[in-house]
Subunit: 66 residues, 6 copies
C-alpha cells in the first residue's frame, strides 16, 4: 500500500501526462516490490515557479537568466 | 506539539467541514496521547482529482467509470 | 481516499495508542466527509526530540528547561 | 542535497519575500552543514487560512477572534 | 527539477530494489515530462507496519488477520 | 505559524548542528515574513543514503563513484 508524492513545477502538465505518471509509478511499485496497485496512492503537486528554489534562487529567476 | 497533514480530493469540502476535521483530529491527539492542543498544527491539502491516483489511474477517470 | 500524515515526537507511543490514532482519524473522515475507510491511509512519523523544533529551539532543549 | 519544504498561510507573501526565504535557507544549509547549494531544493506551500489549524481551530476563525 | 517521495512499509526492501525505484521513477519523469534527471530527487521512507494504517487499522493487525 | 521540514542525508549531523538549523530557519521566518517564532515548527528528517536518489542513482552509489 505505497504512497507516492510527486512535486513538479506548474508549467502546463496535461491530464494525460499526469495520468501517465500515475500509471507508470504504480506499475514500477508492482514490478520492483510486488505491491498491490489497488492500494497504491499517488498525489501530484504542481508548484508555482516562484515557490520552488534550487541553487539558492527561485525557478522563476533561474529561467529568466537561462 | 504534533503536526497533522490531511490530504483530500478537492470536491467542495466546506469551511465548516474543514473546521470539524481540525477540531476532531486535535481532540484525538489530546485524548489518545495527552498532547497540548495549543501547539498542535493541522494542514489540509485539497488535491485536484486529475492529480490523485489510486489503482494506477486518476480519480477523475475512476469517477467517470463508476 | 484521503491520506493523513501524523507527526509526533518519539516518546514511547505504544502500538495500541498508534492503532487508536489510526482508527480515530479514519472514523473522523467517515463522519465529517463521508470518505470510504477502505481507501483511507494514515502514516505516523515518530521524530526524535533533537529533530523537532518549536520557538526556535529543539524539543530536547525545551524539555530540559521546563 | 537537502530538500526543504516551508508551509506558510497564504496571506500575500511577495515573490521577493519568497526569494529571500529560498536564498536564506539554502545559505543556512551551506553554513551549518556544508551542503552544496546547487543541489539544495526548497518548496514553499501557501495554505489557505481555512485549511490551517492550530489550537483546534482554523486560522480564519482565530484571526476573527483576535 | 522534480521531487518524489515514496513511502512503503519497512519489510526488507533491499538496496538494489530501492536503487531500481530511484532509477525507474527518475526515468519516468524524463520520459513523460522531459525533466532533467540531474536535478530530480527521490526520497524513500520506510515506515513500520505499526505506524501505517489502512481501512482504520494498522498494517500489523491487518497482516495478522490475513 | 509556519511549518518547515528539512530533509538531509543521515551522515552524522550533531545535535548542535540540528539546533542551529532550527534556530536559523525560525529566525529567517521572523526576519522575512514577521512570523511568530513561538508557533513556528521545524522537523528535520535524516534519510539513509540508500534511500535518497539524485540523477537516477542513490547517494550511496554516487558517493562510491566520486
Amino acid at each position: 500500500m505505497p504512497y507516492v508524492n510527486i512535486k513538479i513545477t506548474r508549467e502546463g502538465a496535461t491530464a494525460e501526462q499526469k495520468a501517465a505518471l500515475i500509471q507508470g509509478v504504480t506499475q514500477l511499485l508492482v514490478d520492483v516490490l510486488g505491491k498491490n496497485p489497488q492500494t497504491t496512492m499517488v498525489v501530484i503537486d504542481e508548484v508555482e515557479t516562484d515557490n520552488w528554489g534550487i541553487g539558492g534562487e527561485s525557478v522563476t529567476l533561474r529561467r529568466r537568466r537561462e
